[in-house]
Symmetry: C2
Subunit: 364 residues, 2 copies
Amino acid sequence: MESFGVIAEFNPFHFGHRYLLEEGKKLNSNGVCIAIMSGNFLQRGEPAIVNKWKRARMALKQGADLVVEIPVEESVQSANNFARAGVRIANLFQIKSLVFGSEHPNLDFQKMAGKIDDQHDRFQSYEKNFAQQLFGDSKVASNDILGINYAYWNLKLDSHLKLMPVQRVGADFNDKVIKNKEFSSATAIRNELIKHGTSSTALLTSLPRESLAELTNSQLVSWPDFFPMLKYRVISCDVAELARILNIKEGFQNRIRSQIKQSNSYEELMDHLKTRRYSVTTIQRMLTAILLNIPSTVNLDSKPRILGMNQLGRKYLSKINNSDKILNRISQKDFNNDYFYSDRADRIYQLIAPNDFMEKIILV
Amino acid sequence: MESFGVIAEFNPFHFGHRYLLEEGKKLNSNGVCIAIMSGNFLQRGEPAIVNKWKRARMALKQGADLVVEIPVEESVQSANNFARAGVRIANLFQIKSLVFGSEHPNLDFQKMAGKIDDQHDRFQSYEKNFAQQLFGDSKVASNDILGINYAYWNLKLDSHLKLMPVQRVGADFNDKVIKNKEFSSATAIRNELIKHGTSSTALLTSLPRESLAELTNSQLVSWPDFFPMLKYRVISCDVAELARILNIKEGFQNRIRSQIKQSNSYEELMDHLKTRRYSVTTIQRMLTAILLNIPSTVNLDSKPRILGMNQLGRKYLSKINNSDKILNRISQKDFNNDYFYSDRADRIYQLIAPNDFMEKIILV
């Protein structure tokens, strides 16, 4: 049975995602598509615009056969660690190939990944500029870098995923407003949603109706919703407690302690925290780890949880011999172990968006 | 220079407090009155209805010559530990006598305190029933017990305060509604304030106009205001983290972890937590320590801070030789040491009531 994986966030699921899944099916004899997706808090250090169940359902309606959740302690991570989680989970599912969008699919990702192995420490905390410096190629772009990270972990984790870059179409990854109607960036779509709600006509052409259906009547969530909790937590913690949190580095615990006092909104806080040293997403990942109280000692090998699947997904799952390393039904023991921080993240997310939350696997 | 202390919360300052201070002046040759007062979180495990600066000003306008704050880690304590803090601070100020309200001022407090010394462990966590059992006297009431606690620590801390019980007048300490117009209980007054605001005509006869002036246009604060923060904190903490908090005992960390999930308001939470074993105030003290994240290892000998004083208070302060053990001006070092948890408590209190907060000593 052919299989392929995509590592994604679907925040929300748009035409670009649908295109990627369709291409994946074509490249893999119409095999089973395993979507490896972030839960309620994302790689950019942000809460998802709608909860993971809704996003899983969007994906299942539009090409994915099984959606598995990246544990939150692995999703709120730099691109390199995020890629590690994706490749790790792909291996648990014994997936044959990994399909990903790329600005330059003709790059030799595996070869490029080999080049960075001896600079791993620098690469761990790399920035786009560093990557370009390293590869001496000004063409290397955001999704290419993710691809190189996948290749890196494919090597390191001794997995044998076939890498299948797919040419990205349409909008730039980081477009902030809707430009290309059909292939708008997720960022542009989120901005439109937060600003004008689901009734915005601009969304009709840039979001599939299956996605719009899930979004309609949902509470749309963004960082400012969590600002009061974040402020309370920072005020009520010692510097030593903050220093023990995941992602916190180089005295950031002192910086946030002093800056939060004069910040009365999330925007103000970000204005105060921004420096040339840290990107917005680096800061946001630190803030998310503080909000969720994830310690730096957290285990990064928890069993991932299946959020939903269709008949084909179920059939595939029954054939692999790794199902004891994957959470299908979830027990109290799992809530206290592998699912501990993901459960906490869900409960905190639900303090803002308490409705429409489902906790049972989606079977379609 | 004659001096006397009163240990109080002034939540808010009412006619009963004024009467006590007047009696104290009469008994102490019109000497200086040092009010030893809780800050923003109180012995009953509750936030104060208005902040400590306003309450200090009420007291300074109505008989107190100097108001000193009990550090928060000592104010949110059982009656026994609260009494310890009061006696400790009275000694720092080299006060001669301690004036306190009592239902039965003819009791021999010092003798009764001597009786409990060998049962100290039980006494630490005593309840009213236990005290009555111990003393074999059904007359012993709330304020009497506080008096016995003062006497106990007067003995233990080798201090030589002269105890001056003053017959309580008017309302029962625990009256929930205003009955006796002039001497209403603080509980009844708070309930009236929260329910009907400062314009309630019932308050005109039960609150001095100096107190009403401070309360008018103030935000009135109560536990439900902090419920979202409390819920967030409990959800985002491990059981092990909760177990390290001040006042937490006998598995309460597990109980609150499981009960908070199904509680959507402070009232619901209290309904779920109440047992025959714990009084409401015992539970509230645990919840306050969780909210303020005060560890069980906290030092209970911090320097107390002066909140305000008049000319007489300043004169008295200049004559005692202990001023290095008292915070008058407060430095950054103090914020990080002696005043650490009180500052945190203030900042958390200000998340609910951000206005009208002053951070400089009141000089009248």
